[in-house]
Every structure is written in structure tokens, then in C-alpha cells.
Symmetry: C2
DNA sequence: TCATAGATACTGTGATCACAGTTATCTTAT
DNA sequence: ATAAGATAACTGTGATCACAGTATCTATGA
């Protein structure tokens, strides 16, 4: 697996951050479904940790709205209404667009190379029907574009929004039979970036980003 | 004091969230300065809580980048470089601008009324040299505009960015003698909103938002 | 048969202790 | 007087227990 490739938070030093990273990944790959409850003790047992690191990880994710937690009730993966999901995708598209526009002005050859390799991996995973790997690499693709803008603030917020759309993307992908619209979309984005066409890059990323939005569309 | 007026997180049910809210407020009002260390035990003692709720609050704030925490070292208020601060203000301006643009299309009479009252309170606090109250109400002013856009995702992110610029605004305000540029600025924003002029509202908010930016400017 | 009350097995939250790494201070040797 | 080294006072982290709400399931009533 490619799990280790994902560069999440710096603090791999403590258990709490381990749990945090692993849960984040599970949100992206669709291992956690909308509405699914997460019990501290159950997870602690599963990871062979004590309850302490797990609860801190859950609280942390909840503070980022990647999970929800009511008082004295189990934490859950948010089960958004169509309207809420739509708003989420809206903001994500805005931030991804902004990232892409800046990225296009700073793009290097190695960047294009890396994005192409990711696109290939995704194609591979797709043909193998490995949706988990596919989704993970899709995250890496988008995440890399955020990072190209070289604004850590922007990058982190865009990543957060991606995580939160994760369970919805994972769900949406299954209804997608085997048309590979995404491949054309990503190729177009890479091309626009490599040509430093910032306007086009923004436009295409915004479209790609709201690819999932249309599945839950009810107009903002 | 107006502290209770600030609508932070829903969970006022547990101690952890209490600490969280209070620290957020302190970031806004300039009670916490850039680089200042925050000790779990010290705070626990100060609030007469155990260490547990405090540590969770600190971790939560750290997860939002409102604080920083290295391994086994005290949590601290981020001490940003000029460049980092500048990038922070950049993203904040972008999100505030987007909020204002949407808000202008949805504005109601009561909104204008409320914003005007806030502006008056700020003027009052300013003349009394009560910078703490001034800064708190300035947050409420901006925060209310985020909320007008009726997109909770956008709202929360914009608030987060405001919190993070808090200590810098507080520091910048002291160098501002007694010119009341902010008053003209806010009056202009209110006017643009009340006329539903979304383009102008965005422009003015962006300017007001980067008001602090120029203090630390080094070009993005 | 269905509804309702009660018991039981969950849930997160808070307190407290032990531990290990970091920082600061003070002493000692050069 | 200055620098280096030991020691003491910090720091966050993790484990474990007690507690109080919440949900679920079962038994008992009509």
C-alpha cells in the first residue's frame, strides 16, 4: 500500500497523531461512511492503544468538522444534507481554484512530471477496480496542487475541505460505472498547468472539484 | 463585559469547550501575544479545572493552527514571520471578500441595523481607549458578515482565520495613534451592503481585511 | 399484540498518577 | 570571569479509574 506516502501532520511523534492520520485516510478512501459512529473504546481496542490518544484524535477531527460529536454521544462521520454537502463543495471549489491559479504561475517541470505519474497510478488503480487506492491518489493529486501555491494556510484549509468531502466522493464514485471522465479532466488540468494558463487551470479545477457536487446538487 | 455575547462553539456543555472559548477570546482581544507560551498546568490552575480539559482545548486550538505545539514542549501562540502573516491575511481577505459578496445579495434591514450598532459600540470603545472591547466588537462585526453569507463552512473558516490574525491585529492597533480609519472603512462597508452593491462590498471588505496586512507586508 | 417501564450495556468526560523529554538554574572547575 | 556540566523544575503524553448521561433491549403490564 501507499499509505505511508501521504504526508499528513508533522507530529507522528505521539500516538494521538497516529490515530488522527489513520482516520483521516479512512475518510478519504471511503472506509468511513457518512453517519457512521466512532467509539473511543472500540477504536482504542482496535489500534491497541489506550482510550486517551483516540479521544484526542477524535476531538481534533471534530474541531475541524471532519467528525461531529454531541455531548455524551458517540462521535460520528457527518451525515450532511444535500444542501450542506453542496455548500461544502462550493467552498472547496473556490479554494482549489485559487490554489490552481497561483500554482499555474509557479509550476516547475518536476511538478508536471509528478502529477502525470499520479494520474497514471490512478488510471491503474481504476482499471484494477481498487477504489481505495484510486481515492487516495486522487487526494494526493489535488493536495499536491494546493501545495504548489506555496501558501500553507490555503493548503491546510483546502486539505481540510477535501477530507470532509471524502466520504461523499467515495460514495459517489460507485455510481460512476466505468466512464473515466476524471482522466480527461486531470489531463486537462495538467496541460493547463504546464502551459502556465492560470485562468484555464482555475476553471478546470473548479469543474473537477465540483464533480462530486453535482451528485448532491440542490443549488446553493 | 460583552464576553457572553460571543457565539463560539455549540458545546458549552463541557469544560474543555469553556477553556477553548476563553482562549479564543484572548487571542482576539490581544491578551495573548505572539510567541507567548501556554502551560497546561498553569492554565488548569488559573481556571480551577483539572489538566484534562485544558490539554484538550490546547490541542484543539493547535489543530486549527491557532496555537502551535511541538513534542514535549509548551504550546505557544504562533510567532509568525512577516511573510507568514502576510499569507494569512491574504487568505482571510479572500474568504471575507467572498462572504461579503454573497452577504450583499441577502442583506436584510435588521442586519444593517445590527452592524451599525456594532460600529457605534466600537467608536465608543475606541474613544474610551478600551482596546480589548474594541477588538472584540471588531471580531463580531466581521463575524456577522460571514454569517450573513449563510454558508457555515465558509463562516467557520473565515472565523478561524480571524482568530489567527487576532494577536497581530491587537499588536498593530497600538501603533495606530487615534486616527479612526476603521470607522470610515466600516461605514463604507455598511453602506455598500445596504445598497446590495456586492462588488463594492467585496472590494471594501478586502481592503479592511488587509488593513493589518500592510503592517507586516513583504509581498506574497 | 402493543406499549411502556426498567435494567443493562453502552457513550463521552474528568481526575489523578507515573513517565520521559526539555529548559533553566546553579554549581563547579578551568 | 567564563564556560561546562549536573541537577532540579518544568513541559506534554499516556494509562487507568470513577462518573454521569444515552440508547437499546427485555420483560411486564394492559
Amino acid at each position: 500500500m501507499v499509505v505511508q506516502n501521504i504526508k499528513f501532520h508533522p507530529n507522528s511523534s505521539n500516538l494521538s497523531s497516529n490515530v488522527y492520520s489513520q482516520l483521516r485516510l479512512k475518510l478519504i478512501t471511503g472506509d468511513l461512511k457518512p453517519g457512521e459512529p466512532l467509539s473511543i473504546r472500540r477504536l482504542a481496542n482496535e489500534y491497541n492503544y489506550s482510550a486517551m490518544p483516540v479521544r484526542e484524535a477524535l476531538r481534533q477531527l471534530a474541531s475541524e468538522d471532519a467528525l461531529v460529536g454531541a455531548a455524551k454521544k458517540a462521535y460520528r462521520v457527518p451525515d450532511l444534507s444535500s444542501e450542506e454537502a453542496s455548500k461544502l463543495f462550493y467552498v472547496r471549489a473556490a479554494l482549489e481554484g485559487a490554489s490552481a491559479e497561483i500554482a499555474a504561475k509557479k509550476v516547475l517541470k518536476k511538478d508536471v512530471k509528478y502529477l502525470k505519474s499520479l494520474s497514471l497510478s490512478m488510471d491503474f488503480a481504476w482499471k484494477k477496480n481498487d477504489s481505495s487506492s484510486f481515492l487516495e491518489q486522487n487526494f494526493l493529486f489535488h493536495s499536491y496542487i494546493y501545495s504548489m501555491a506555496q501558501n500553507p494556510v490555503l493548503e491546510r484549509m483546502a486539505e481540510n475541505l477535501y477530507i470532509r468531502t471524502g466520504p461523499w466522493l467515495a460514495q459517489g464514485i460507485k455510481n460512476l460505472s466505468n466512464s473515466n471522465v476524471w482522466e480527461k479532466s486531470h489531463d486537462g488540468i495538467i496541460k493547463a498547468l504546464s502551459e502556465k494558463n492560470s485562468v484555464l487551470a482555475r476553471k478546470l479545477i473548479e469543474e473537477d472539484s465540483s464533480w462530486g457536487k453535482q451528485l448532491y446538487q440542490t443549488d446553493v
